[in-house]
Amino acid sequence: MIFQSITQHLPILQVVLPLIAAPLCVLLRRPALSWLFALAVTWASFAISIALFIQLEHVGTIVYELGGWPAPWGIEYRIGTTSAIVLVVVSGIGSVVMPFAKASVTAEIEPARHYLFYTCYLLCLCGLLGVVATGDAFNLFVFLEISSLSSYVLIGMGRDRRALTAAFQYLIVGTIGATSIVIGIGLLYLVTGSLNMADIATRLPEPGTNRTVLVAFAFLGLGAALKLALFPLHVWLPNVYTYAPSAVTAFLAATATKVGVYILLRFIFTVFGAGFAFTAMPLDTMLMALAVAAMFAASAIAIFENNVKRMLAYSSVAQIGYMVLGIGFATVGGVAAGLIHLFNHALMKGGLFMALGCIFLRAGSVRREAMAGIARTMPWTMAAFVLGGLSLIGVPLTVGFISKLYLIRAAFEAGLWPFGVLVVLSSLLAVAYVWRVVETAYFREPSTEAARATEAPLSMLLPTWVLIGACVYFGIDAELTVDTAFRAATSLLGAQP
């Protein structure tokens, strides 16, 4: 009876658990205690997301009414296959980063601030999960702000003073993004008189008959593009990833931009409808053009970057390009490929940034010169980095290969074969930037930092390998990810005839 009632409340528990835990963390204050508590909460929320995922096998969508108020009037949480995937990614990464964070945060942040770090971490997790779980447009904006504001604080805690300017830059850009999202939602409310996304979709007038809807569409598109760092609106991202504490970079790189992609998907497919976005508006052409630009420009910059953390940040911009390219195809195969890559990229970038966190802990720097010969003193960390790098390139038996395989297949199916060729060509750029790091770390004489370094502690190495291991596992047995992604894409596109 109690068990049954808990499963019924899972959608809200997913979001409220970290929300309640965050102020409790403030009250705990002791660094070790707040870490342990945050760890338990993130694992519990991961368990909830998996339970939701399993629940979805039996029912199409899980709907939860807050306060018992029925949908168009009250706030409802609506979890479909797409949101379930993103929930698993966000809470999963959140729970893997937590054990890693202990040693990393101790080294990078002063002890008096630890409890605030974990509080903000939980708030950020709550916000990201809330964006995904909610079916209410304004609620989405509120959660987006919760996650953004807490992530500005997390980034600003970086040891490098430039972390503050990076956080401030992100604050400005992020606020512009959030503002345009709220303007878009406001305009939609003006036209439809509703804030419930499913309800808005049914009330929207015929495409082309209402100019306010066009403006709302533009604002929402811009806001989502800023949040997911779509080229050329990615300028905030490299600094943020470079100067944020290692644990924060790993967490945000694997989750925040993914939630941005989710917002884009949610508005395109379930609010405006594919017909409006791709037929009445040229969004597909725009997305594809910007995605290709991201794939090449960002990868090219990554090749010439000497700070490896920044190099991976630019690589993230390029990888986001692949996701957006899939969405731009506007076919089931394309959107599925985008979702597959969303999941896979979270695994590899999370793992790679955690490997860099290990190196930063031991060598005190992630510049390429400092990493010379570091494979001799930190063999396990570098092995993880190499596997993650191979996955980034798209070598078979890693998740990167699965992503690119389905992306290229979708390109051919959509009759857009040149894009398939472009995906392969841009992967060659990834070979270049990954190789530069591997060559430095394995074949150069150790630098003074590298010679001093020792292998990272197990508490950091293990979570890194969990994600890298997942990269290989889902690269070999991709059935689960591919099936789920196709189911999600079908339901997204099937929502509109």
Binding site: S5, I20, P23, V26, L27, G67, G68
Partner: protein, 134 residues
């Protein structure tokens, strides 16, 4: 001198007005957010007139920080109370025997949580900026 005397006279009334806005919010205009800001304004006024040291003696920063968390907790646990009593999150109907009374209690608690956190955050922001030189 004039400021001190007038300030001393005004502050109790500002606080009283904050409480009025707080607890009258479900009948007329007002609510937790506005009340929190007004209450914080009373403390900030005190700090401006009598110095931040005295204000920090009246409301120690550590206590304020605990209040920030306590307000959010009150809000969230009111929601969870509905969940434990067998309804959905934030459903106040089940908080009392009579659903209308339940709604009444629910919104009062929620707004009190909002008021506490807003007041505490405002005071913290004031302390943070005013206390910078030292």
């Amino acid at each position: 001198m004039v400021l001190r005397v007038l300030g001393k006279m005004m502050i109790p009334f500002i606080m009283l007005f904050a409480l009025y806005v707080q607890f009258h919010g479900d009948y007329g205009p007002g609510g937790g957010f506005q009340a929190g800001v007004i209450f914080a304004a009373a403390i900030i006024l005190y700090g401006l007139i009598f110095g931040i040291h005295n204000a920090m003696r009246v409301v120690p920063p550590d206590v304020v920080r605990v209040l920030i968390a306590a307000g959010v907790l009150l809000y969230a646990s009111t929601g969870v109370a509905g969940l434990i009593l067998g309804a959905n999150f934030l459903d106040y109907d089940v908080l009392a025997k009579d659903p209308i009374e339940g709604q009444h209690i629910g919104i009062l608690l929620i707004e009190f949580g909002v008021g506490t956190t807003v007041a505490a955050v405002m005071i913290t922001i004031y302390f943070a900026f005013a206390g910078r030189q030292r």
